[in-house]
């Protein structure tokens, strides 16, 4: 069995988990089953990623599977699923499961089947051969996944306030709190991601900041969430406004992640294929 088969299986497992979380959200049933299937999806995917790492060594170009668009999307999905389980465990709620697993499933399916994304293991250009690679990618992606989680709570807030799923969703102030907590978490990891990228750039090229389009967009994302956090702390914004902004925030994050690679040129162009 090879890594892409395992990642394919985990895609279907995630899809199944999405449906189960959906049932759980609507009818308050099968919650434990949904969590178990999600954990299994994570396990299969982890094995898949691990296997891909081994395969890269077998073909003589060994490196961590975090270096092209396919690998990054798979890792993005992996981080979302992991974060979903952590949020479930920490906050004792499964409500974000449907949205997060759906996002992970779409990401995985698109990576494997769209044709625009190369699934082959590619050798590493010299610039990427650094110990900073792993820490930079991990910090950024925890940030991205947390912002996806924030947007999920934002959407749930909107649903609840429109009178949808009122019996099944927690009070609005709790949804607001969950939105805020995950946003803060994402903000710290995004900051760490930008910093680790700067330190890496300085050790590879002698400049910690070169206004490359990926750098600028990560800064724009940082500004965006800094604005939301200040609006909350000092202007007392909460609820609907923040929920809407946090969904817009995910669009900014996704542009930083995908849009820059596809539409703009720059230092991160190797992530585009």
């Amino acid at each position: 069995m090879d890594s892409s088969t395992l990642i394919g299986i985990s895609t279907f497992t995630s899809l199944f988990a999405t449906l189960l979380y959906g049932i759980n959200l609507m009818y308050n049933k099968l919650g434990r089953v949904a969590t178990t299937i999600t954990a299994i999806a994570l396990l299969i995917q982890t094995t898949g990623i691990g296997l891909r790492w081994i395969e890269s060594y077998q073909i003589g170009i060994g490196h961590a599977p975090l270096t092209n668009m396919y690998e990054s999307i798979v890792f993005f999905a992996w981080t979302i699923i992991l974060l979903q389980l952590l949020v479930e465990w920490h906050f004792k709620t499964r409500i974000s499961g449907t949205l997060n697993l759906a996002l992970a499933t779409i990401a995985l399916a698109w990576a494997s089947n769209s044709g625009t994304v190369q699934t082959a293991i590619t050798p590493l250009v010299p610039a990427l051969q650094s110990n900073w690679l792993v820490s930079h990618v991990i910090t950024c992606f925890i940030g991205y996944a947390a912002f996806a989680m924030t947007a999920a709570f934002g959407l749930l807030y909107l649903l609840r306030s429109k009178g949808i799923l009122v019996d099944r969703l927690p009070e609005l102030n709790i949804l607001d709190e969950l939105n805020h907590k995950t946003m803060v978490f994402g903000f710290i990891w995004l900051t760490a991601g930008i910093i680790s990228g700067s330190v890496w750039a300085n050790s590879a090229w002698g400049t910690y900041w070169s206004w490359d389009s990926k750098e600028v967009w990560s800064l724009i994302t940082w500004f965006f969430y800094a604005i939301i956090l200040h609006a909350r702390f000092t202007r007392g914004w909460s609820g609907m406004k923040i929920a809407t902004l946090s969904m817009a925030g995910l669009a900014v994050v996704m542009f930083t992640y995908f849009g820059v690679n596809f539409w703009l040129s720059g230092l991160h162009s190797y992530g585009a294929s």
Binding site: V125, P126, A204, W205, G206, T207, W211, V216, F223, V260
Partner: protein, 461 residues
Amino acid sequence: MKKNNPVWHFFSSVHLALTTLIALAITSVIGTLIPQGEAPDYYYRFFGNSIASFFSGPGHNEFINKFAESATTFTRILDLDDMYSSWWYLSLLSILALNLIVCTLDRFPLTWRLIHQDNFKLHSDRIAAKQGAVHFKTSVHFDTTVKILNKHGWKGEVRREEERTIFFAQKGRWGRLGVYIVHISILVIFSGAFIGWLGGFKATVWVPELESVHTAYTQKGNFPLQLPYDIHCNYFDIKYYNNGMAKEYESSISLVQDQKELTTQMIEVNGPLKYEGTTFYQASYQPVPNSFVITFSQDVENTGKKKTITEHFIADYQQPIHWNGMSFGILRVLRFQNKVKQEKFWFKTGDADPWEGWLDNNVPTTVTVDGKVFKITVKQRFSTGLQVAKDPGVPLVYLGCLMMLAGLYMAFFMSHRRIWLLQDNTDKKKFLVLAGSASKNKIPFTDELKNLVEKIQAQTR
């Protein structure tokens, strides 16, 4: 006085902070859409092509040219070709910095008082009115209750007054400094960047193998920059993957001053040479056309001591080299996918017939001529592209980054939690009041208070 000053008020306002951040977020986009640092005529073509893609078909040429012309002029006026160091972008950053400074000076004293305030001074009614305060009747003695609280991590002080006995404990009060540390960290990063701009440089230099260069060219403006030493490239090597992609490339670099070698090091991408605050990064490479490096190695026995003599030569295509009674050179070259694979080498010493043969590029080969053994390496000659950078602001920038992470952690995750245990000595019924406040995570904190009360009540049973 400060409070009434309108300028002070303006620069300390959150409105200004939000407006500046929004302005920065929006304007920053421009530089990712318009390519930065190109020559003026580039922009005319860039705008022309961009607008042309919206208006395909004939009849629009005049409009397209006009648009390209005005867009180019606009770009020049607003420095959009170098917008991140333009006057208006730097002004926005300066406003942000000023806002951070004034804001910190304005609010910090209040926070400092909050951290250091005497929490015993609080009036009993105020304590009892705290959100989530639990009033309960207990036969447990005040001191026993304090011990229970101590046991659960609430270590504090007891103050006995005539009318009341009061215990106070707090956790995480320094978390209130987090937000200031984050704000100051941005200023620290800014000052690091300023010091780097003032006392640093970034330049590019091309050094051909076996040559020395001491002029680098700045990345901005391409100005010549004289280095205090020569950069000598001893050797350059590149390895490829099977698909022809560059796997790694490295250079052996020496810094030489007045014929004295200061340092020598192999450098590669992600592995630079550092010398007295200046760093040399492997950035690029290119082959020197029709130029080769020949390395001669010969074991010589001189009065019983074995010694290897190694000599490097720059050889041009089909140009013979004469050295030490020998003649040699490159006759032909075999290329595959634009990369030199083999060189046909000829070599004559003494009266013997010349030796001729194909040698693999950059692979040492042993050749015996006239009874003497030589080790010969022939390789394509390269020029190594180095980035030379000096940035004395980097330590400050890194300090700022660490402060920012620490500050964010404190600001987001450290909650200033305070608890008071109050006994009204005038009250015969011995009511105790346990009250608390938390700067964040209020819901779990209320649960923690209730939990503590249960622990105390359990003592009576």
